[in-house]
């Protein structure tokens, strides 16, 4: 692209022709305030807080949606601009539920941050204010329109990135609101609980539904308490305590959970290895029989609900294997309970997950009586803080046996491409019957939302595809529906970047941050001695002692599941 020179606050800077002013400014160290802008979304120019002056234009222009031109003279903070931004904030605050201290996003809210920066201590406007009932219906997400500033970020991520269309804009003018269609509440809507809207929301209008109170009650119930932590938590929890992205805190996390009062801390990674063994076995079987291909991974509960709603006729393409969370939950309440001679009812299992959709997953009837509560990464950090635990200075400790040991393959589950890479490592060995050297499948890595890789496994060419974000998944599913899918094996994750970008992870979810988190997981993997799931000694012992053969009858009963037709059209009231 052609380079042009523009004048930014008196200095000459270089920019791509047609690049948006905000991008040029940010590259040059000017973080223009913004509420509706997101680098991954369409530039809608709605909030108008990012206005700047451009010489020759009598109006202020939105820097997010105004492209630069050669010789453009731009100013980003004249008194006129600051006054406009202040008035803009005053208008937003005049129509806002100003309950900051009791808001879930307190101290994490961009509106609050800007109001603070602009020292708005009094709002000169009074009059009408929106008053709506808060929607608590969803197991994952709380929607409070009284705090909504209509930046549309949630609508963009839900409709354009995820193509779920659970929420949209309604009414017009001052009555404009974001809500599910047809007067549905969030639980009735097509919401897949991915929580990406929560991540995108700059205010407290969309927040995750907290289970902290229930967990505190459980911690004091006298029951036997077990925690499991998903692969990505160790790479992100540190950020909640001020560490830079990409610093793993596995040891401290386990210690903190013990300090909170958990008798056992198991690793979901152990279950991830089992997932690979089962899924890999299933894939090899299907591949040999050339049946229901491509097979699609099913670790992601948001993706599963998406498929059940929009592609219910293609559900036979889904692997029947449970997600790692559900596998560990199943094993805790059967194998482990039996082993310890405990009544499963006396065990409380709490899942630490990166994901708001897991809160929905544990409520699925198939998983009834297994996991009890889900805490997201952010919630766990809050709980640790409530218990006044000095997290960063905790000694490191390791997961408990017998479900604490995992391979490098499980570590990478928390990022896009990880499940596929882990699966390929095992499938290659299991198909060839050898212990192959190759563990790195570089083609499946990286942040592109759709990646293809063709792998030669013992003379069999296996075409794989890895997507994250469901808009991309929709493309693959449409191919499958049309019978034109060229693939054998597909990995789908709902969230951008995979679980490191999950709806329950600390924000912001910028690409660079997600990459650092993924890098931490990748390093855990490469540091491990055993990097193939089917070589996990604890897992192999479990099969020998309890489950029988890979993909066998007992394994099927405990580790596999079924799916439901949730065709969205029936839901209309």
């Amino acid at each position: 692209m052609a380079k042009v020179s523009v004048n930014l606050n008196g200095e000459s800077v270089e920019a791509d022709d047609g690049e948006m002013i905000i991008d040029v400014a940010r590259r040059n160290g000017i973080d223009v305030p913004h509420l509706c802008w997101n680098v991954r979304f369409e530039r809608i120019g709605a909030c108008r807080i990012c206005v700047v002056e451009v010489e020759g234009n009598p109006k202020l222009v939105a820097s997010c949606s105004t492209p630069v031109k050669a010789g453009m003279v731009i100013k980003t903070h004249t008194p006129r601009i600051l006054e406009a931004r202040r008035t803009n904030l005053e208008l937003l605050l005049a129509n806002h539920d100003l309950s900051c201290t009791t808001c879930a996003k307190n101290l994490k809210c961009r509106l609050q941050e800007y109001a603070h920066d602009f020292m708005i201590q009094e709002v000169p406007f009074s009059g009408k204010r929106k008053r709506e009932e808060v929607d608590y219906s969803s197991p994952s997400i709380v929607r409070d329109n009284n705090k909504c500033i209509l930046c549309e970020q949630c609508v963009q991520v839900c409709n354009k990135i995820q193509t779920v269309y659970a929420i949209g804009l309604q009414n017009r003018g001052f009555k404009t609101r974001v809500a599910p269609p047809m007067r549905m509440d969030m639980n009735e809507s097509a919401c897949i609980n991915c929580g990406q809207c929560v991540v995108a929301c700059p205010t407290g209008a969309l927040t995750e539904k907290s289970s902290i109170k229930e967990v505190i009650d459980a911690l004091n119930s006298g029951k036997y308490l077990i925690a499991q932590t998903a692969p990505s938590i160790r790479a992100t929890l540190g950020e909640c305590f001020g560490l830079p992205p990409g610093v793993p805190v596995t040891g401290q996390m386990v210690s903190a959970l013990r300090d909170l009062g958990f008798q056992k801390v198991f690793d979901t990674n152990f279950a991830a290895d089992i997932t690979i063994i089962e899924e890999g076995t299933e894939f090899i079987k299907r591949f040999k029989e050339n049946r229901s291909l491509p097979m699609i991974t099913t670790c992601c509960p948001a993706w599963i609900k998406f498929a059940e709603q929009f592609y219910y006729q293609e559900l036979h393409h889904m692997s029947s294997c449970r997600s790692p969370q559900a596998i560990l939950a199943s094993l805790v309440k059967t194998y482990y309970a039996e082993k310890m001679g405990k009544d499963p009812k006396d065990i409380v299992l709490i899942d630490i997950m990166p994901c708001t959709a897991k809160k929905f997953e544990i409520l699925r009837p198939e998983y009834k009586g297994e996991a009890d509560y889900v805490l997201t990464t952010v919630e766990l950090a809050k709980l640790i803080k409530q218990y006044s635990i000095d997290f960063l200075n905790l000694p490191e400790s390791s997961f408990d046996s017998p479900m604490g040991e995992s391979t490098g393959a499980a570590d990478i589950f928390g990022q896009t491409g990880g499940v596929m890479e882990a699966a390929l490592r095992s499938v290659a060995d299991l198909m060839s019957g050898q212990d192959l050297q190759r563990v790195d499948y570089v083609n499946v890595r990286g942040m592109e939302t759709m990646k293809e890789a063709e792998v030669d496994l013992g003379g069999n060419k296996i075409k794989t595809c890895i997507v994250h974000t469901l808009g991309e998944a929709r493309k693959l599913m449409d191919q499958i529906r049309a019978g034109t899918s060229p693939y054998h094996f597909i990995e789908i994750m709902a969230c951008y970047g995979g679980c490191v970008g999950g709806g329950g992870q600390p924000g912001p979810h910028r690409k660079e941050i997600l990459e650092k988190r993924a890098g931490a997981l990748r390093k855990e993997d490469s540091d491990k001695k055993i990097r193939k799931s089917h070589q996990n000694p604890d897992a192999l012992r479990l099969y020998k002692e309890y489950l029988g053969e890979f993909g066998g009858e007992k394994a099927h009963k405990l580790l596999h599941t079924t799916y439901t037709n949730r065709c969205i059209i029936k839901k209309c009231k």
């Binding site: 530039r43 108008r48 206005v51 202020l60 939105a62 105004t66 803009n88 017009r172 003018g173 404009t176």
Partner: protein, 599 residues
């Protein structure tokens, strides 16, 4: 290329127009005055001459209008409601003129038309709008045929040369706009914006209902020039007659093979025109919101650039012009550059259709050359304000426009002078106001309109217009403070500067311009709590004067029993109870009740 006569029976049209004929104006305005029934009565009367429905000639104040042409003599009759239709029947049958209803022997005889120059509306009210033959006989399609003799680029050059400015409001050169898509290949779209939504603007409606073929001809020329083979005309659902007329006109063109492939035998000139009905959101008149609406999406404006000429409908290059512009295109190609160039001013050539409404004696739609003074429009054409009132200002350009005070009435009708004075040309609505109109209340009214019609996308417009309205409501209901005026002014400037689209950017204009010229009224409302015009209810009292004879009628009429007294003595109004509805004053036979501004 083929001849028009191979498609349309022009002679039939010419014969109809040349012979004896009785016409009734049955556009929406005529119908609402009862013209539909008049037409039926005349058609049922076996007059022995052709009784033709025609569109509107623009003289709304005379509706229903019947024109009789007998033996080459025209007689225009006004206010011919159904009960008076028999008089026209008698007049036609006897060949005499009905003096009671007679207005003139032709439009040019009427004061209303003397300063008008009708080139775009030339057929309005004269031909049957759905008679393709009559349209052709009046020189219809001549412009199209002329255009097809030229290369598309040459047509664009003609438009550039004509200095035709888009009639939608901003006044951007039509030729320049078209030239943006000139080099672009592949699919292109043409849109005719017929989403006329300003309160007090209905010139497009009259055009669509009175001469739909002219608009379509303009679209056909535009499509040829820019190379679009698909065109939309975006209309609002609340104007069902316009939509029906347009749909009928399009299907008539199709039947005559004047739409479709290789039109008029011109190889490669293909065009399909479709009507898209919008639900009537004001913001859908904004071009990007309009395109979203056509595409089936929420009528939300999007940031520009990219402009529609780059990325329009379905991301394809798209040209949007309004109804008036399309009609002008056809007119220019028909009458030729030489004649067109002589009309109007140097910067703005041609004529402008203007809706003259408000407190004026002769409201209606007029077509005047650019450069005519506002005074001529209000007084010479409109006949001035009703007796007993004093002319105060005109509000121009609808809710996005502004007020121009009586002292500036020598301003010419043109884009730049009006903008400099704080108003805009807009679609061309002129609302006349007198000393009975409160300017703060006028600002409040327009703000309530834009506030209701704000799409809700950008913060300044969505939140800001409501706060402005609330401030104006406080000022007009007597609870306003002096500081409110400055707050409103600052907020107005913010909304004007920061909003996403034209709706928001222009929404504060009514406030800013009334503040500019009528600040004293704002101060009176805020400080003295008085409304000199006697409009703001909370600042009024109704008093009974000594003229009262004690008939007691007012006490019986008062809906809240606020009036009491003894028969044959002076009655009194309890101000606490009075809701200021004014019923007593309107019904007092002795004019003994007066409205006074609260001191």
């Amino acid at each position: 290329m083929k001849k028009l006569s191979e498609y349309v029976d022009t002679e039939k049209g010419a014969k109809e127009l040349a012979g004896d004929r009785v016409t009734v104006g049955v556009a929406t305005c005529g119908i609402s005055a009862g013209a539909g029934e008049t037409l039926k009565a005349l058609q049922d009367a076996n007059l022995g001459v052709l009784v033709d429905p025609v569109g509107c000639s623009g003289a709304c104040y005379n509706e229903p209008i019947v024109t009789v042409k007998q033996g080459g003599v025209y007689s225009i009759y006004s206010h011919v409601t159904k009960d008076k239709a028999q008089k026209i029947v008698d007049a036609v049958k006897t060949g005499k003129i009905c003096g009671e209803l007679f207005t003139a022997h032709g439009l040019t005889e009427m004061d209303y038309y003397k300063k008008q120059q009708r080139i775009v509306m030339e057929n309005c009210g004269l031909i049957n709008p759905l008679s393709i033959e009559q349209y052709a006989a009046c020189g219809g399609f001549k412009g199209l045929l002329e255009a097809l003799l030229l290369e598309p680029k040459e047509v664009i050059d003609v438009m550039k040369d004509s200095r035709l400015r888009g009639r939608g409001g901003a006044g951007f050169s039509t030729g320049v706009k078209w030239s943006f898509v000139l080099g672009k290949t592949g699919k292109k779209y043409l849109i005719c914006n017929a989403d006329e939504g300003d309160p007090g603007a209905f010139m497009n409606r009259i055009m669509l209902e009175s001469d739909p073929f002219k608009v379509l001809e303009g679209m056909m020329i535009a499509a040829y020039a820019i190379g679009a083979d698909e065109a939309f005309i975006y209309m609002r659902l609340e104007r069902p007659l316009s939509i029906r007329m347009m749909q009928k006109a399009i299907s008539l063109l199709g039947e005559k093979h004047l739409l479709g492939e290789n039109i008029l035998g011109k190889e490669g000139y293909n065009l399909k025109i479709r009507v898209k009905k919008g639900a009537g959101a004001f913001v859908c008149g904004e071009e990007t919101a309009l395109m979203n609406s056509i595409m089936g999406q929420r009528g939300y404006p999007r940031p520009r650039p990219p402009f529609p000429a780059e990325k329009g409908l379905w991301d394809k290059p798209t040209i949007i012009n309004n109804v008036d512009t399309m009609a002008n295109v056809a007119t220019i190609m028909k009458i030729g550059l030489d004649r067109y160039k002589k009309i109007g001013t140097e910067k703005s050539r041609g004529t402008k259709t203007v809706c003259l409404t408000g407190n004026v004696k002769r409201p209606g739609v007029i077509e005047v050359p650019f450069g005519i003074s506002l005074k001529e429009i209000v007084y010479d054409i409109g006949g001035g304000t009703p007796d007993g009132t004093k002319f105060k200002a005109v509000q121009m350009g609808g809710p996005a426009g502004g007020c121009i005070p009586a002292s500036l009435m020598d301003l010419p009708l043109d884009y730049e002078p009006l903008t400099a004075a704080g108003a805009i040309m807009g679609s061309g609505g002129v609302v006349v106001m007198t000393d009975r109109d409160c300017m703060v209340d006028v600002a409040r009214y327009f703000m309530s309109f834009t506030q209701k019609e704000s799409c809700g996308k950008c913060t300044p417009c969505r939140e800001g217009t409501l706060r402005l309205l609330e401030i104006l409501e406080r000022l007009t209901d007597g609870s306003g403070k002096k500081e409110d005026i400055e707050l409103a002014r600052k907020l107005s400037i913010f909304i004007r500067d920061s909003s996403l689209c034209g709706l928001g950017q222009n929404a504060p204009n009514p406030i800013l311009s009334t503040m500019k010229y009528f600040m004293d009224e704002y101060v009176q409302h805020a400080e003295q709590k008085t409304c000199a015009a006697g409009v703001c209810k909370n600042m009024l009292t109704y008093v009974i004067t000594d003229k009262c004879v004690g008939c007691g009628n007012c006490a019986r009429i008062c809906p809240v029993a606020a009036i009491s007294g003894k028969l044959k003595t002076k009655y009194a109004i309890d101000d606490e109870k009075c809701i200021k509805c004014g019923e007593c004053m309107r019904n007092c036979a002795f004019k003994a009740i007066e409205k006074k501004s609260t001191p």
